[in-house]
Symmetry: C2
Subunit: 124 residues, 2 copies
């Protein structure tokens, strides 16, 4: 039954049996990948704490509006942020989904580990 070259873990077949299938890993990875770029992580962090338009996000982070727009498109594609137009501007905010809320918590928790002092949510 064990088809692996070696046999270090006698429970390995049970573990492999519980492993989600490849498609689930790909989906999860593409969500996690959104956190894998510094600029995008900053945008996501900002939208975890406020609702802002592209111009303000760009000015706050010191990058071009096109860059913000591009990253917002990626975040939108993963249903992590949503934008609603209000006149000339489009106000972006974190999506009201389980995944988005989970990522919010994940980001805050990560910063609690790497730099515990600077964190908004932990002070409420």
């Amino acid at each position: 039954m064990n088809t692996l070259p070696h046999n270090h873990d006698r429970n390995i077949q049970a573990i492999l049996g519980m492993m989600p299938d490849g498609e689930k890993f790909s989906e999860a990875a593409s969500v996690f990948a959104q956190l894998g770029d510094g600029t995008r992580l900053k945008i996501l962090w900002l939208l975890c704490h406020t609702k802002e338009c592209v111009s303000d996000i760009a000015a706050a982070l010191g990058v071009s509006k096109a860059v913000v727009s591009h990253h917002l498109q990626l975040l939108r594609r993963e249903n992590l942020v949503t934008g609603t137009r209000s006149g000339q501007e489009i106000h972006y905010s974190l999506s009201n989904t389980d995944e988005a809320k989970f990522l919010h918590a994940t980001i805050e928790a990560m910063f609690n580990i790497t730099c515990p002092s600077t964190n908004i949510d932990s002070q409420n």
Copy 2:
């Protein structure tokens, strides 16, 4: 004091003041980036549940040993996995660090959201 083009959120300056600096975002992003590839996520998931050598990991996931070795190098560089040599083989396992344990919990939580049925840790 508010230097942003628009003024939607009157607390924006306080929020920006709490924002970790760019370096912290880059560090966090490079850790999160490890979860952003399907193959690497599988390897990490496997090492969250067992200790295995490169050959077994490669066979279990159906990829080449060189690919596994390459991804293990990236995971080692971020101090997420550790390998101890035992004879010819090197047994890899999750590092005993806060970040690694946190990522383990993060991965499991993500799968609890995306596919709640298939999860080992939630059944203990």
